[in-house]
């Protein structure tokens, strides 16, 4: 998972010496878009609950195997806890971006259909809209940077807007909420300090607060994605 998070960060980013991520900014004046079709299945079905530099992972293969079990058990427990409060990440994200875009003057319809993989769609179903908005949340949930550090909400998302008539890319960007790596050129959102959990027990103590932290992060990502289309 650590390698995955770093790979995601590296794919979108850049350290000081490498090439930075170059987004495609949106120019509403010239884009001539008023109706948008929002692609479905934006998020993975389960949240992560991951400790990046865990103690176990420092102890070779045996330690890594033990660590994988601990990480998976924590993830399952967190998702069970979120289930007790009917937490629905996808509905939160899609409703929020739809309402914000509507406020900004767009007419938004939501498409339906699952993704084969956690990436932008290759093609879009006919929708009769000016453009397709594709938001892909590659990871979301809780992350601790390492042993002794608190778990905080994290969201890794990428977003793009494609013109329906000729498949022209109108906007593409990356939004990282509480990322583990520095990311030049990528929009970075600092975590809300209200949602910090000291360990697994802390995460599971109050499922309502646990869900509220994720909702807060997803709403900020949705608002940021909508702001890119002002």
């Amino acid at each position: 998972m650590f390698k995955k998070l770093l790979a995601i960060a590296a794919a979108m980013t850049v350290t000081a010496c490498a090439s930075p991520y170059i987004a495609t900014p949106y120019d509403r004046t010239t884009a001539n878009v008023t109706t948008i079709a929002l692609a479905d299945d934006s998020l993975a079905p389960q949240a992560i609950a991951y400790e990046v530099a865990s103690t176990g992972a420092n102890f070779g293969l045996i330690g890594a195997l033990v660590d994988a079990g601990i990480q998976e058990s924590r993830k399952q427990a967190v998702n069970d806890a979120l289930g007790t409060v009917q937490f629905d990440a996808e509905t939160i994200l899609e409703r929020r971006i739809t309402s914000t875009l509507t406020t900004q003057g767009y007419t938004v319809q939501t498409l339906s259909g699952d993704r084969e993989k956690r990436d932008f769609l290759v093609s879009y179903p006919a929708a009769g809209s000016d453009a397709y908005l594709d938001i892909v949340v590659t990871e979301y949930g809780y992350m601790s940077s390492g042993a002794g550090q608190p778990f905080r909400p994290t969201v890794y998302a990428k977003v793009r807007l494609m013109r329906a008539s000729d498949n022209t890319l109108l906007m593409e960007n990356m939004i990282l909420y509480n990322p583990i790596a520095p990311t030049e050129g990528v929009i970075t959102l600092a975590p809300n300090p209200e949602y910090a959990f000291r360990n697994r027990e802390g995460l599971l103590e109050d499922p309502t607060h646990l869900a509220a932290g994720l909702e807060d992060a997803l709403v900020r990502v949705a608002d940021t994605a909508a702001q890119l289309m002002r």
């Binding site: 170059i22 990046v52 550090q149 030049e184 990528v186």
Partner: protein, 217 residues
């Protein structure tokens, strides 16, 4: 001989002083919360605009400059420091990020405007358009045909406001075991706090999506 003695004494004294000398580091500049400009102009000086055209085609060209290259009297009233940049003539394949660098204690409060060749404002950005892109609080855009300059002034509305953030990371330590070395990874977390300022460092990044085209810069 007296002269030689004096030289030896001087050299010995200098070496002793050098031995005692400690390197001093200047503390990072703190936020400038007041600004009183002098000789403020009614319009920006475009002749001294910093060029954003690199000496040769580059995928990424970054320029930094102090925000206070000059002083401008704002049409809304009051004075502001400003700095201007000249956009590349071949702008069609360029994506530009303009903003204030996140310094240790401060962030200049940027107000970015695009100007045409005559210095008339063609585009401004609202407060919601500014975002933290890595270490730069910035806007991102592609220049339009008529746009020739970037003007960065200070937005007084943000000056004095605090930006608090938490930055997480992973640190790797190499440990010697006697039989070899192993690496130990541990998590880090740092609370940071910065204040928006009248002055600071401006950074402009010009990304060129087509560095192979002929005769273009």
């Amino acid at each position: 001989m007296n002269r030689l003695n004096a030289l030896v004494t001087l050299a010995a004294g200098a070496s002793l002083l050098a031995g005692c000398a400690t390197t001093t580091y200047a503390p990072p500049p703190s936020a400038t919360l007041d600004y009183a400009g002098t000789n403020c102009a009614a319009s920006p000086d475009l002749v001294t605009a910093i060029s954003l055209t690199p000496d040769k085609e580059r995928a990424l060209y970054t320029v930094t400059a102090p925000a206070a290259a000059g002083c401008l009297t704002r049409t809304e009233g009051g004075d502001t420091p400003y700095v201007t940049f000249a956009l590349p003539a071949d702008h069609a394949d360029k994506t530009i990020i303009v903003g204030a660098v996140l310094e240790p204690l401060r962030i200049q409060s940027p107000a970015v405007a695009l100007l045409d060749r005559e210095g008339r404002v063609t585009r401004t950005f609202s407060a919601e358009d500014y975002m933290y892109r890595g270490s730069v609080y910035s806007v991102q855009f592609r220049p339009r045909e008529t746009e020739a300059y970037v003007l960065v002034t200070t937005d007084p509305a943000r000056v004095g406001q605090r930006y608090d953030s938490i930055v997480v990371g992973v640190m790797t330590t190499t440990v010697s075991t006697g039989y070899g070395t192993s690496q130990w990874r541990s998590g880090t977390e740092q609370a940071q706090s910065r204040v928006f300022s009248w002055e600071g460092t401006i950074q402009v990044s010009v990304a060129d999506s087509d560095t192979e085209e002929e005769g273009a810069q």
